[in-house]
Symmetry: C2
Subunit: 492 residues, 2 copies
């Protein structure tokens, strides 16, 4: 097979990169750190986007669009925010090019310097809260529940396709509320929407948890997150939801009149997931043959490959497969008929396995005569013979089974790589093997920093819905008292 991928067990990082590139998901571009998302990769992103968008709307949110550029001074308004985001970013300083007077090409026109530099948005709290000031007068204008699908730029030094790129695509929700309680409830609601989506559509188990103060979003009072485990045992933060308190309302002077006419600062949340989810999807399920896509997120759920001799037989088989296609259509199952005549069927099998298509249907003349088809599932690579009669419903059942199996496999893997650790010696040993370590921690940023320095492990979260162990204990590092175990891991 031409498109061979590296072995996952031997070189995980190369394996990942091979998958992304060889399955035609994305590639690097001529611009450092910026990727091209290719049609097959983008089709997966559209499935993610489409489902999330439905879930956002079902929870009362509306989409809007805010400017790409942020005036430099806006970033400084919220003290912690500027610390977190004003470091590595793309700065627009000029608005014109002109012909090079000394040779070919164009140069930046020095006369076209902007009065104030513009930053390409790394996140949009500042520009959005500057708009909200005009939108909010009274409690009747609240809540505001907006989301935006957008591109953002963070000038990362070390980039990896989907996982960390200078430009990436994401959605960012920004809501405004009359009370702290309502904003906190929104923060929790949205992290649970994320967990629901990632578990039930992407088939990736996640822990909903709370970030420590050190890992919090710059400008937030509280950050909730979903944390997933990849097949190398590393953690990947798949989504975050922030309770921002009144920080941005104060920075941009956003007040509302309550029922009694008193002016109060507005309460805020923000929450986002990005094309990083594509990285999680790839790393959570794939194997050495290629991607393994959960049916709920696969752009092509079924591929049909004919085994034929000669043009005439190919045509009659394509007709036969189109009839199957009609049944699949009626059940809302997406499919593709691979009728290429310039590659062998073995090549086709390998290519669709690489691309992670959940089910392959193979049709040969003898199968047709016998009223059966050969069906191979991508997750287990098992083959079976199914009756042509009622095939649509059989496939539908099979897709559900695959979805459940992929999820179960990922849960089992994660559970097997999660353990309680109670001594510092054991911690240093276990952390080398990867996985989640459930440990007692004294709650201080100092201890957290020291553990990270010595082992590169960070506190992924204080778990809220899985692996919750509320029991008294002593910190693995300092020996001080602790009330609850937290999740330590190395991470992406």
């Amino acid at each position: 097979m031409a498109k061979e991928v590296a072995n996952r067990e031997e070189n995980y990082s190369l394996w990942y990169n091979n998958l992304v590139v060889k399955a035609d998901l994305a590639e690097n571009s001529a611009v450092r750190g910026c990727m091209v998302i290719k049609p097959y990769g983008y089709a997966i992103w559209e499935k993610i986007q489409g489902q999330l968008d439905k879930m956002f709307k079902a929870t009362g949110h509306q989409n809007a669009y805010f400017p790409l550029f942020i005036p430099k001074s806006f970033l400084s308004r919220e003290a912690e925010h500027v610390e977190g985001f004003a470091k590595e970013c793309a700065v627009v300083t000029h608005h014109r090019l002109k012909a090079n007077p000394d040779g070919p090409g164009v140069i930046v026109d020095p006369d076209a310097r902007l009065e104030e530099e513009l930053i390409v948005r790394p996140t949009s709290e500042t520009i959005i809260w500057n708009s909200y000031r005009n939108w909010i007068k009274s409690y009747r204008d609240l809540p505001i529940l907006c989301n935006q699908w957008a591109n953002v730029v963070r000038w990362e030094m070390r980039t990896r396709l989907f996982l960390r790129t200078a430009e990436f695509l994401w959605q960012e929700g920004h809501t405004a509320h009359a009370t702290a309680q309502e904003a906190i409830e929104e923060t929790e609601k949205m992290v649970n929407v994320y967990a629901d989506f990632v578990r039930n559509y992407m088939a990736i188990p996640v822990v909903v948890g709370r970030k420590t103060e050190h890992e919090r979003f710059a400008g937030a009072l509280d950050t909730l997150c979903i944390e997933a485990m990849m097949q190398d045992g590393k953690a990947l933060q798949a989504g975050t939801s922030h309770f921002l308190g009144q920080n941005f309302a104060k920075a941009f002077d956003v007040k509302y009149a309550d029922k009694e006419g008193n002016l109060e600062y507005v309460w805020a949340t923000s929450w986002g997931v990005s094309t990083r989810l594509m990285g999680a999807l790839i790393m959570a399920h794939s194997d050495n043959e290629g991607l393994v896509l959960p049916p709920a997120i696969a752009p092509i759920q079924v591929v049909m490959v004919p085994i034929y001799k000669g043009e005439e037989q190919l045509q009659s088989m394509v007709e036969y497969m189109k009839e199957i296609g009609k049944e699949l259509d009626a059940l809302g199952i997406s499919y593709k008929i691979d009728d290429r005549d310039n590659v062998r069927s073995g090549f086709k099998f390998a290519e669709w396995e690489l691309k992670g298509v959940p089910v392959r249907i193979v049709v040969g003349q003898r199968d047709i005569d016998n009223g059966v088809v050969e069906v191979a599932r991508r997750d287990t690579r098992e083959k079976s013979s199914l009756q042509r009669e009622g095939l649509g419903n059989s496939i539908k059942g099979l897709l559900d089974e695959i979805q459940a199996n992929i999820y179960k496999k990922a849960i089992d893997f994660r559970d097997a790589k999660t353990c309680k650790v109670d001594t510092w010696e054991e911690f240093k040993e276990k952390i080398e093997e990867g996985g989640f370590l459930l440990c007692h921690w004294d709650g201080t940023s100092e201890t957290e920093a020291k553990i990270q320095e010595e082992t590169k492990a960070t506190i992924r979260c204080i778990p809220l819905d899985s692996y919750v162990v509320e029991e008294p204990g002593t910190c693995i590092y300092s020996g001080k008292p602790s009330k609850q175990r937290v999740i330590f891991a190395r991470s992406y």
Copy 2:
């Protein structure tokens, strides 16, 4: 009414701006020339986007995503392209900010200057063709039929919400073909997809035509377009489709091996529509009461307003309207129940008229007792009483009627403002009144430039499917021979 708009006949430009802002479609932001698209405006854009995306996919196109940034040197590769696009653009020169050593805030870090400046894409031909070089080896890789939904930036000096903004949203299709013929067919196919969409969904009549050499896209061999007429008689270019020949393939060295193994340059097209369509939508149909949205593109097709006394009656009416809502849902009709208790119904009527909702249903207790509802249509502002029995289907029929009527009204208006003009004196007089002037032109850029200089009128297009008058004549300006009339107008 609180949200009064200026009179269209007295101050067209203020009227337009009032509509955009007061109907909550968009507003200016803190960044010069960049707009905020508010939820109601964005919901209309999503309807436009959703339908166009379906039509693109139905014609075999796939979405992808390419980088926001373009290396400065790329723009110079295609000689005419750089002329057209390298003038006013946002230039990224640095990748870091740092704390201001001399005071508060942040400054651009002079040590973080980029080796080569990056341009925020004004259009993506260059970065895309640079990628296509790696995607295309043989004729088997062709055609490539990609589209991208993206934001682009052109540093316009005079901006107007939706019509001309520094940043705008659009889609750009970029296709690659083995033959000139196939690329030309694609160019025509896509301009016709645009015409179909704008006519049948946005209810705006358009002329499909060809741009003159002077008005062509920078880098194209041929530009097709759709031209619409606004209610002030000005023309608005609503979409373009370009045959790019081999210009970009040559600039980025993109060749394919044909069946015989010969290396040939690839043929290209590109085509796009933008949030400018929102401006066209507003200006084509609205009146002094506000927007008039064609049902096919209205986020809310029906609004229901109760006329009630007291909380209890309000609740029972809301229940009654929810029953109507179920019928509408089943027919795929979107609706909103306006149950606000803090504004009068007259205020609600005016607000939903301002927002252009096609149909209003009003329910009072006497109506309920009589088994009827009062229905008002936005386009004609006529009211009628409809039987509650079978209301869903009556509304469905009414929406179709409104869609057709809005379109017919726009066609009639355009036809009435379109006339043949045969003398230069008459031209100078008529152009002041607005509208399309069908005139003979000698085919030279010189004459075109002089006419524009003297009258501000440009050749909108050489019509291909409406107002086609192929007859010999003499140029209105130069008196030289001409074979066909072209459309002159002042434009946005």
